[in-house]
Symmetry: C2
Subunit: 301 residues, 2 copies
């Protein structure tokens, strides 16, 4: 993969991306820095983080070359700015960056919902006079966050979704920066897929957000019912560990997801409630067989 | 572990268990045979299975030394009979074995619910004139069954629950066979724990059956909603794979569990429905933080 990427770039024109600013060096930001380095990116990587500890860990891990004191200054000095903070913090930074950056910059993000961010990208960026903004969402993560868990291989084999809008009138340079960034993402081992932002949010509500909120509900319920008997976790074994692993996910990240994809998540949770009720009412009827067979199909295909 | 076990047995009196019959050579039966061999059991192991293919695979894997044509005959010729079939099939075999076996035999099972089986064990076994019956439940398994998945290490580090009843009047020989079987279970690497059968069924409803039925409901729902777009499974990534792995579990096994632990499972599923509703109604309120923090605690302790 690394080899292919270098050949592609060397055959093409000169690289424009010489400096990348990563704003937010938590799990994803740190992993982006590590993956860029591991895949052969030779330019500078500067990092900024709200907390000093996260920035220090990212620097020590080699994910960034230097810690920036000011996110706007770091952005101004870079061709690409990667926003790797929770969604509302991303929207805040987008507002601030829009007025200081010009068409020689590309801003991209890694947020888990894309409707709100893509709307802001159309309103604040992506005109000939402004910076380009490429809304992105790597489908990779861990149940716990933080720079210490940063992983150069996090994006290998993962899907990296983009919700670009064809109607935007980017500068020629912005369009080229987008292409070069997508090549870097591919070099990190991810498969780039373009998708409509509304379709994205609907889809992740089912395959990503529903599993998370379900694991949270199950873990919280079990904590209440059997939390005083930790030996029962051994009884549950691997199955229980897997079904509650995401229970460790931080509220700080999921609050913004719940708030920016509320309707789709509500619909998915409600559908699961109904499905559970159906199963509960049919524990002794032939409908139970149909549920198991339907579930078996999902795992087979 | 193996070493410890041999020392214990060699220091004690002569071994009584020279021949074990495994009735049902699916995943668990085959794994018991393999684990017995791996832990140093030197006696004979004979297997019976309803389908010829499962018996053949168990024989080829070395889990059994011979295939028995008749389960009752195999039981009569053995000191220990391990029932490793679904729960209603276990109850059927218990009825048949009770009248042919005497106090020189021990029958034990590996069923996932223990109320019904323990009641039958008191009614049909465990008198001075009858065979002993030790209701057991190894907390180990895989999402798919079958002899081909048999694993000598399946029980290592697992909990093996027993719902023995102190009121039973076993023969002296039956009591000794129980002790020797428990030593063999320990030698397979499991931790033996005694528990009241009603408490067992209540407990596994929460930590084992609820995760299973939840994974089934989630998998069935996702099959209906996104089953025609298999690429979405990549989008969901590891989290989705884990949350739906148990969706592959077979109806043939879980039907009997649902039918013999109905009330406890219904209560657990209903509690989860309510928890999901609470979460759904609070996606934008501070109660969401409380749910995440409660879930975090379950994973921390």
């Amino acid at each position: 993969m690394e080899q292919d990427y270098e050949i592609v770039l060397d055959q093409g024109k000169e690289k424009m991306i010489e400096r990348i600013a990563i704003l937010g060096t938590g799990l994803l930001g740190t992993s982006v820095g590590l993956a860029l380095r591991a895949s052969g990116f030779g330019g500078a990587i500067v990092g900024w983080n709200r907390g000093a500890e996260g920035a220090r860990l990212a620097l020590e891990a080699g994910a960034i070359d230097a810690i920036a004191a000011d996110p706007l200054q770091a952005a101004l000095e870079s061709q690409v700015v990667v926003l790797a903070v929770p969604i509302y913090a991303t929207l805040d930074l987008m507002e601030k960056l829009a007025s200081v950056l010009g068409p020689e910059h590309l801003v991209t993000d890694v947020g888990s919902t894309k409707g709100t961010i893509t709307e802001a990208a159309g309103r604040l960026f992506n005109t000939p006079e402004r910076a380009a903004f490429l809304p992105g969402h790597p489908m990779a993560g861990k149940e716990r966050g933080g720079a210490a868990l940063g992983d150069a291989e996090l994006f290998r084999g993962a899907v990296w979704l983009f919700t670009d809008d064809a109607s935007w009138q980017r500068s020629a340079r912005g369009a080229e920066l987008v292409e070069e960034w997508r090549a870097l993402v591919a070099a990190m081992g991810s498969k780039c897929i373009d998708i409509d932002p509304a379709r994205h949010d609907e889809m992740v509500a089912w395959v990503s957000h529903l599993p998370q909120f379900l694991a949270t509900a199950l873990s919280a319920l079990l904590q209440e019912r059997v939390g005083d008997a930790p030996e029962l976790k051994d009884v549950g074994g691997r199955a229980l560990r897997e079904m509650t692993r995401l229970g460790a996910s931080p509220y700080s990240m999921w609050r913004d997801i719940a708030a920016t994809n509320t309707q789709a998540v509500q619909a998915a949770i409600f559908a699961l409630e109904q499905r559970l009720q159906h199963l509960r009412e049919n524990l002794k009827t032939p409908a139970l067989r149909e549920e198991f067979e339907q579930a078996n199909r999902f795992r087979r295909e």
